[in-house]
């Protein structure tokens, strides 16, 4: 490579021998392939999708709504509490870490200083255990975020209840 550069520099004296040493534009057409939030069709057409997954992101506000409501202002209003910068990721990972949750869509809403987290879960653990987890999560989250957090759960018998279609 160094030799090439040296050759090019020396070639300035002899321009008729200089190689084309400029970067060139790519002239091929742009590949506008959007894949995020879209699911591929399987051969057997047996991949279950929820309503949320069945509608790709460009249908937000047309066929489905946003998963988070009024969460952007959390950072401006509560600018004093730095913990809140991590609020949303924490809530999301925390709910997804739970083993029993499949096809989870975490819905986060903020009303003034109150954060509501709504989730649909399967009735896989005993109610007693679930009540404990509920209170435990609420307590932990509100301690981290420094504002009241409410978990609003809806339970279903099996994950198939939330399946909208198979592709």
């Amino acid at each position: 490579m160094n030799n090439v550069i040296k050759f090019a520099q020396s070639a300035i004296i002899l321009p008729q021998w200089s190689p084309i040493f400029a970067s060139q534009f790519h002239t091929s057409s742009a590949l506008c392939r959007v894949v995020s939030g879209k699911y591929r069709i399987t051969k057997k057409r047996d991949k279950p999708l929820t309503y949320e997954m069945a509608n790709p992101p460009h249908y937000i506000a047309h066929r489905k709504t946003w998963n988070s409501w009024n969460t952007c202002k959390i950072f401006t209003i509560f600018s004093m509490s730095l913990e809140l910068l991590f609020a949303i990721p924490i809530i999301k990972t925390y709910s997804q870490l739970k083993k029993h949750v499949r096809f989870v869509t975490v819905i986060i809403k903020r009303q003034f200083n109150h954060i509501r987290v709504a989730v649909i879960i399967r009735r896989a653990v005993s109610p007693t255990k679930m009540y404990f987890l509920l209170g435990y999560s609420e307590e932990m989250l509100s301690n981290w975020i420094q504002c009241p957090v409410t978990l609003e759960l809806q339970t279903v018998d099996s994950y198939q209840d939330v399946v909208f279609k198979y592709i």
């Binding site: 309503y51 066929r63 004093m80 509490s81 200083n113 649909i120 005993s126 420094q146 279903v156 099996s158």
Partner: protein
Amino acid sequence: MSLFIRNYKPGSVYNAQIIWRYHSNKVEMAKKEDEEEFRVLDILKTRTRLQRKVTRRADIQPDRSEKMKTDQNWGNVWPGPRSFHPSSVPLPLRQGYVPKGQAPPGKKANAELMKVPNFLHLTPPVIKMQCEAIKKFCTPWPELLNNEEAIEQNYPVEIITSDYCHASPTIRNPLSRIATLRVKLSDLKLDKHARDKFLRLVGDKYNEGTDLVTITADRCPVRKQNLDYVNYLLTACYYESWNVEDWEKDKALEDMEYYDFDQNPSKANLVAWFMRVSKKGDLTDDEVKAFDVSNIPNGPEYKKAVSDLFNNSESDQTLEDYDAAVRKLLGLPEKKVLQ
């Protein structure tokens, strides 16, 4: 699993604990069964699909909405704001986009219904009840302030501030310091000179369309200081506009920001023409300046037309007005437009 289905009878009473123990055992049982069974080559995989059966748990209560009475107090069922919950709402709701001819997804396990904010806690009877409850804290509205005009007349100065309510580690919000003062310019006692000077001092804080002067202050850290500052600004501008400086007397005709008919040669010409027509003696310059145009027949209309022409720029309307005023003044017939 199949054992469980075989033994399951709808209506039989199961203790919740037994079922949980059952759950932990049933995986092993299913394994044993699979080992004993003779394996059949199943190319199309038809059997596995057929074997799937839905098991319903016995310890799950029926929906609360099914037990609800028609004359219940809805405010007790849904007392505060909350995400939608299908078993508490006795309404046959459906939401979701589906191809034509299909029914949208029902209310159960429907995330779309949980996403949208609902107002189930703010039904008209509940609002009425809450209003009744807080009524005792309210004082009656003053009777004389029954319309907008009366309020504006008695309280011409309007102060706008914002309060923010939240319970983060600090209750202070920096935005609450901003104070805005609004007053109608016509409510201030100003003469021609003072008004002109006031507008120059205030600049773009005056809105011509609404006749409102809006002064906003956010430079001090506390609202009280900003309020004081806003009041100070208004007071200072008001008294300053009444001051007449020595150099203001040097203002000549060329310095005028608008066309003043009384100072312009147009008036001198008009008065001179009137004196000649009415066969009176000539007037001195001072007498011309002091002469009242309303003594001349159709004089005020002419004055207005000329002033409009200069102040409001030349347009069809002002030119037509000027034409009509001149015809009236000189006693000429009105303009005839051929149809």
